[in-house]
Subunit: 415 residues, 2 copies
């Protein structure tokens, strides 16, 4: 007998028929003798509708009252799933965020979970009842409702799994696992059987939207075994686990393209101490996250060119900030380009292998793809290239690192 | 400075524009220096939608989980109204049923309010904040959500007004007061300025759907001054108050038609002790409410005919129950008629005046309307007539008791 947390997203909860399919899936785990707690999202569309009501009421809605409104979505699906489980003969009851309670910070609409009360729910689960818990919501120390921010239900599930010391946290979603790259670009993409927390974090941070980043951080910290799998098929999913020395490791587990970057170049910046602070200080003050930074070596005349990327949506604001600071920074010209894309390769294997970056540069050069900027972390190499080459670059790298499987999604690999 | 509870129904809360109109109305009371608590219903249609989801999940939904689902509707409007009030510069916050708490019995989906916690809300109101409270919902002693049954928000408002010792409980609805009869039938119907609790109860029990019966009972018990008025106009409403000797009283305050009755006649029932129990015992066991009962005098052959009414929706069930008991009861024939209507005249004035019933019978006889059954209470006389005559009977009685005002809804009378 295992103790399992199952989490179902908004697409899985959208309407009575899908809720019934979810209940059937839960019943299977109960019939196998497991203790089950379930975390649910609101029906797809409901949260958007409730957020829309709040905006109509006031563009600057009080976040505490916003939370009262939007938390209702998960409350509804919790009750409906408990009813549906009972109709299948499965003992079940809902436990709202304030009933457990799920204690959070008081940062309304972006609260963080601090503690999950489990005494009552553990008794109920031990007595054979499935516990149905709304994701996304919690309670402040002074008794008000909070929400965790969009996508927060993943984090609710991992936090509950940690508090319950669950054997596994199964995240059911509308994809059936984590792939080596986007199967729409590379038909030979393979579903991964396993991936480490660090790899999942790097993939999430460069744009793979399978799990919310914070939920992966929490899983890593609390050593919660997370499984990503589909509500709509019975295929095995991808396990997100701690790094394990005994695993046969490949160098690279994924190739990801991030289309949300824009490039800015400041031409002929004086090459003197403090100039970098003069550029990035004003951007930070405007809450603009700068990502890749390349500073060329100084030119003869004592100036240098500085290139960096910002989120594409923040490019106009960035230009505005920099033009206002032109006098203080002293650059000659501002160039910008929002037709770039960041390609990253991720894998904990690269910690112990040289040559990962070299393979990347060679592969891209062989197809005439020009690299505009480079950044690296311990388990990731990212390059900026013209967006016209994005599909080609992803396919070339997928092949270069030996990730290609047979065409189709059936093949899996244990990395 | 007064302390006021204002209650707004689902039609008044249906959408952002109407919620804004409600907020403007509340702001007027706040600007006048009053302390205000507001009780809100769910948006019109929301509760039906949520109930529909529960039925789809299971025809026999667990009432405790049903309550979790449907209570979400009032939670949403509470948060939205608080946000809208704030956008008008009015300090406001929501207090959910479990936050006050509003303690109820554990009879899920038909719970009764036992106690309303007011410590926190009184502090908040004293500090100048409007308290927004969802109607219809409460909390059991063991911490689960409950609802009060359809229309329960009126009761929530009266219970809150009693707990807050409010000076007045204003019930805003889609009619602008209590009328002497249905203005769609009698254009000369007058809006009443005042009515007693007892009269309001009798009117409610015979089919005038302005206030939920239980809310009137509670207001009478707790001596809460209730005002019924329209969300959509500024016309003064109707005050529901304690009987006051100094009021100039008219005999009759209202004429009401109830189309939900069906007549059953058992022909040639043996006229012996215990036969009435033999008829009404099985009906009571089947939860069928019998209303008007007429037992004719015994005929020569030692039998009698017994006529009574049941709710029209329960007529098939009643026939079924009685036919199964035919052997035990011993009647010769069962006749039924669902084309009858009950007409009632109500007024506390009739306590001290004879002749009210005689006026009724004379007026109906003068137009050839046959009376099939009669019941009376201390402040009500009801007759059963063929439904074809309903409009004629209401008009004739409205005139006979001197209730006619000028045509239109502007005229009011202080009874």
């Amino acid at each position: 007998m295992a103790r399992i947390v199952m989490k179902f997203g908004g697409t899985s909860m959208a309407g009575s028929e899908r809720i019934r399919a979810v209940a059937v899936r839960i019943k299977r785990e109960v019939d196998a003798g497991h203790q089950v707690a379930v975390v649910v999202s609101a029906m797809a569309g409901t949260t958007d509708q409730l957020v829309g009501y709040c905006r109509e009421a006031s563009p600057l809605a009080d976040p505490a009252e916003y939370d009262v409104v939007v938390a209702a979505g998960e409350q509804i699906t919790s009750g409906l799933l408990a009813i549906t489980l009972q109709s299948l003969g499965v003992s079940a009851r809902s436990w709202l965020g304030w009933q457990l309670p799920i204690r959070t910070t008081a940062a309304h609409s972006v609260a963080r979970i601090e503690d999950v009360g489990t005494a009552a729910i553990l008794d109920s689960m031990a007595a054979g009842a499935v516990a149905v818990v709304p994701g996304f919501q919690g309670l402040t120390a002074d008794g008000r409702l909070t929400t965790l921010g969009r996508g927060g239900s993943d984090t609710s599930a991992v936090a509950l799994a940690a508090a319950l010391k669950a054997d596994r946290c199964d995240i059911y979603t509308d994809v059936d696992g984590v792939y080596t790259t986007d199967p729409r670009i590379v038909p030979r993409a393979r579903k991964l059987q396993r991936i480490t927390y660090e790899e999942m974090l790097e993939l999430a941070s460069v744009g793979a939207k399978v799990l919310q980043t914070r939920s992966v951080e929490l899983a890593m910290k609390e050593k919660v075994v997370v499984q990503v799998l589909s509500s709509f098929s019975d295929a095995p999913g991808t396990l997100v686990v701690d790094e394990d020395d005994e695993m046969e490791r490949e160098l690279i587990v994924g190739v990801v393209a991030d289309r949300n970057e824009a490039k800015v170049t400041l031409v002929r910046v004086p090459d003197k101490p403090g100039v970098v602070a003069g550029i990035f200080g004003p951007l930070a003050d405007a809450n603009i996250n700068v990502d890749m930074i390349v500073q060329n070596i100084a030119k003869d005349e004592g100036t240098t060119d500085v290139t960096f990327t910002v989120p594409r949506s923040q490019l106009p604001a960035s230009i505005d900030v920099l033009e206002k600071a032109q006098g203080a920074i002293g650059f000659a010209q501002l160039l910008h380009d929002d037709t770039v894309v960041k390609i990253s390769v991720v894998g904990v294997g690269m910690k112990s292998h040289a040559g990962v970056a070299a393979t990347m540069f060679r592969a891209l050069a062989s197809r005439g793809i020009n690299i505009q900027a480079i950044t690296t972390s311990e388990i990731k190499v990212s390059v900026l290239i013209p967006q016209d080459y994005v599909e080609l670059a992803v396919r070339v790298l997928h092949t270069a690192y030996g990730l290609d499987g047979p065409i189709g999604t059936d093949a899996e690999t244990d990395i």
